[in-house]
C-alpha cells in the first residue's frame, strides 16, 4: 500500500515539474511562433517611420536604444552605491553585526516593493524636483529598482568568499580600504553575474518607466528628452487595432526575449566560472 502511494506521488511530482518546464517552452515557443514571420532586419535597425503605427515601414530601434540608455545609466548609479555598501557590510562591519543584518533585511524588503510603486514614487520625486518625463527620470527610477537586486546578489557572492584572504591582507598591515580594493578584484566574476542578473530583471520592466520616461519615436540625444523602452513599445504596438502592428509587437517581444535569454545564460556562465575560482 505504502509503495503504491509512493509511486503515485512520484508520478504526480514528476508531472508537476514537467508541466512547469512545458509552460516555459510554451511561452517562448508562442512568442517565437507568432513573431518570427514579422521579424526583419528593419525591425532592429530603424526607428519608426511615418505611419509606423498604421502598419507602414519602420522598426523599434528607438525602443532598443532607449532601453539600453536607461539601463546603462541606472547601472552606473547603482554600481556607485551598491558596491561600497556591500563591501561595507561584509568587510567593515563585524561578523553577525546587528547593523549589517538590519541593512540586509531592508534590502530584502526593498527587493519586494513592486515596480509600480517605484514608478509612482519616482514620478512624485520628479514632480517635486521639476523634471519632466525624460531619460533622466527613467534612469533615476530604474536605478531605485535595480539597486536592491544588485546589492542582494553581490552580497550573496561576497559572503561566499573565504575569510583567509582578508585576514592575510590585514595581517600584512593593509588598511581595510586597501584590503577591499584587492578583494573587489577577486569578486569580479561575482560582480559581473550580479550586474547581468540585475539587467535581466529590469530591462523588461515596464511599470517603472511608464510614467517617468514618456515615449518617443526618436532616439533620445540628451537626458532631458523622453525615451521609448522596449517593453512599452511592445505594449503600445499590441494595443493597436492594425494587424501588422500587432505582428510587429510579437517580433519586438522576440527581441526582448532573446536579450533576456542571452543575459540569463551569460550570468550562468560567469557564476559557474566564479565557483571554479573559489577553490
Amino acid at each position: 500500500m505504502k509503495y503504491l502511494e509512493e509511486k503515485i506521488f512520484k508520478i504526480i511530482m514528476i508531472g508537476a515539474a514537467v508541466i512547469i518546464m512545458g509552460v516555459l517552452i510554451y511561452i517562448i515557443g508562442t512568442v517565437f511562433y507568432k513573431g518570427l514571420p514579422s521579424l526583419t532586419w528593419e525591425m532592429i535597425t530603424r526607428i519608426p517611420g511615418g505611419g509606423f503605427y498604421l502598419g507602414k515601414e519602420g522598426g523599434v530601434l528607438n525602443a532598443i536604444a532607449g532601453s539600453v540608455f536607461i539601463v546603462a545609466g541606472a547601472l552606473v548609479i547603482s554600481l556607485i552605491i551598491s558596491v561600497p555598501l556591500v563591501m561595507y557590510i561584509n568587510f567593515y562591519l563585524p561578523n553577525k553585526s546587528f547593523f549589517a543584518n538590519a541593512i540586509r533585511f531592508s534590502l530584502d524588503i526593498l527587493f519586494g516593493v513592486p515596480s509600480i510603486v517605484y514608478g509612482a514614487f519616482g514620478f512624485a520625486l520628479m514632480v517635486y524636483m521639476g523634471i519632466k518625463a525624460s531619460l533622466m527620470g527613467g534612469i533615476i527610477t530604474v536605478a531605485m529598482l535595480i539597486m536592491p537586486i544588485m546589492m542582494r546578489s553581490l552580497d550573496e557572492v561576497t559572503r561566499l568568499l573565504s575569510r583567509d584572504l582578508p585576514d592575510a591582507l590585514l595581517s600584512l598591515g593593509s588598511t581595510k580600504y586597501e584590503m577591499t580594493k584587492v578583494l573587489l578584484r577577486q569578486l569580479m566574476p561575482g560582480l559581473t553575474t550580479a550586474v547581468l542578473l540585475a539587467i535581466g530583471r529590469v530591462i523588461g520592466d515596464a511599470a517603472t518607466v511608464l510614467f517617468t520616461t514618456g515615449y518617443t519615436d526618436n532616439i533620445p540625444s540628451s537626458f532631458g528628452q523622453p525615451a521609448a523602452t522596449l517593453p512599452l513599445s511592445i505594449f503600445f504596438q499590441l494595443g493597436s487595432p492594425v494587424e501588422e502592428v500587432q505582428n510587429r509587437a510579437y517580433a519586438s517581444a522576440i527581441i526582448l526575449t532573446v536579450i533576456i535569454l542571452i543575459l540569463s545564460f551569460s550570468a550562468r556562465y560567469f557564476s559557474s566560472k566564479f565557483s571554479k575560482n573559489k577553490i
Partner: protein, 299 residues
C-alpha cells in the same frame, strides 16, 4: 605617506556608512512621500469610506477603492491556489527525488521563468490563455465571456510566482537536518512517508512564509495582469468577469490624472496602500525565513 592611507580609509568608511544609513532610510522616504502625496484625499474623505465604497467616478470626485481591492485579492488568491501545489510538488521532487543532473538541468528553467519580463507574460496570456478561456472554459459555466477575466489574470500570475515559490521552498526543504530524514527512512518509512510526516511538517512555517512572500509579489504585479484581466471597474462576481486590480489602476490612469482634482492623490493612495501591504507581508515572511535559516546554521 602613511597618513594619506589612513585618511583614505577613514573617508571611505564614512562614505560607506552614509550609504548604509541611506539604504535603511530609503524605505521610510518612499513610505512618507507616498503618504504625503495621498494626504489631500484622506483629509477630504473618510479613509474607511474610500476603502469600502464601490463608487469610482473621478469626474464627480467619487473615489471608491473597493472594486480594485477585491480584484487584487481575487486575482492573487487564484494565482496562489494554482501555483502552490505545483511549486510544492516540484520543489519536493527536486529536493528528495531528482538526481544531481536533473536538478542542474532544472535550475535554468526556474531562472528563465523568473527572468521573462511581465510584458512577455502578458503577450503570451493574450495569445493563449485569453482565447482558451473565452472559447473553451467559460462557455461551460457562463453564457459569454471575453476571456479577459479574473481567471486569466490568476493563471498568468500563477506562472509568474512559481519560480519565486520554488526557489524559496527548495531553500526551506534544504534547511531540514539530514539526520531527521535519515532517521525516518531507516525506520522503514518510504520516501513519500518521510516527506509527508517529516519534511512537510517541519517546513510548514517556511512554506507559509514563502506563500505570503509570493502573495505580496502577486499584489504588486502590474503589466502582465493589466494586459489580460479586462480592466473594468466593477466588483467581479465570478471567475469569468473582468476585473481591475490596484496596480493596473495606477498604471492606466497616470497620464490623465493631473487634470482632475484629487485624482493624483487618489492614485497615490492606491500606491501607498500597495506599499504598506507589501512591506508588511514581506517583512513578516522574510523575518520567518531568516529565523529558519539561522536555526539551520547553528544546528
Amino acid at each position: 605617506m602613511r597618513k594619506i592611507r589612513f585618511v583614505k580609509d577613514i573617508t571611505a568608511r564614512h562614505i560607506m556608512l552614509g550609504i548604509a544609513i541611506f539604504t535603511i532610510l530609503f524605505l521610510l522616504v518612499i513610505g512618507f512621500s507616498l503618504f504625503f502625496k495621498a494626504l489631500p484625499i484622506m483629509k477630504e474623505k473618510n479613509l474607511w469610506l474610500l476603502l469600502t465604497s464601490a463608487n469610482w467616478k473621478p469626474f464627480k470626485g467619487d473615489f471608491g477603492f473597493l472594486p480594485y481591492i477585491i480584484s487584487t485579492i481575487y486575482v492573487s488568491l487564484i494565482a496562489i491556489i494554482i501555483a502552490l501545489p505545483f511549486s510544492i510538488l516540484t520543489s519536493i521532487f527536486l529536493n528528495s527525488y531528482a538526481s544531481r543532473s536533473i536538478r542542474r538541468f532544472f535550475e535554468p528553467v526556474v531562472d528563465l521563468l523568473s527572468g521573462i519580463p511581465p510584458v512577455i507574460y502578458g503577450v503570451w496570456g493574450t495569445l493563449t490563455i485569453v482565447p482558451l478561456i473565452s472559447s473553451k472554459i467559460a462557455p461551460k459555466f457562463v453564457d459569454f465571456s471575453t476571456g479577459y477575466t479574473v481567471l486569466a489574470g490568476g493563471i498568468v500570475l500563477a506562472i509568474m510566482i512559481i519560480p519565486l515559490l520554488i526557489s524559496i521552498m527548495t531553500e526551506v526543504f534544504r534547511s531540514i537536518p539530514r539526520e531527521m530524514t535519515d532517521a525516518s527512512l531507516s525506520m522503514g518509512a518510504t520516501k513519500w512517508q518521510t516527506i509527508k510526516k517529516v519534511i512537510l511538517r517541519k517546513s510548514f512555517p517556511g512554506i507559509i512564509a514563502a506563500t505570503v512572500l509570493a502573495l505580496s509579489r502577486a499584489f504588486g504585479e502590474t503589466m502582465a495582469v493589466l494586459m489580460v484581466c479586462g480592466n473594468i471597474a466593477q466588483i467581479p462576481h465570478s471567475f469569468f468577469d473582468a476585473c481591475y486590480p490596484l496596480p493596473a489602476l495606477i498604471a492606466n490612469n497616470y497620464g490623465e490624472m493631473l487634470s482632475m482634482p484629487n485624482y493624483e492623490s487618489a492614485l497615490m493612495l492606491a500606491a501607498f496602500l500597495l506599499f504598506i501591504i507589501v512591506i508588511l507581508f514581506n517583512g513578516l515572511s522574510r523575518f520567518t525565513l531568516n529565523q529558519i535559516e539561522k536555526k539551520y546554521q547553528f544546528s
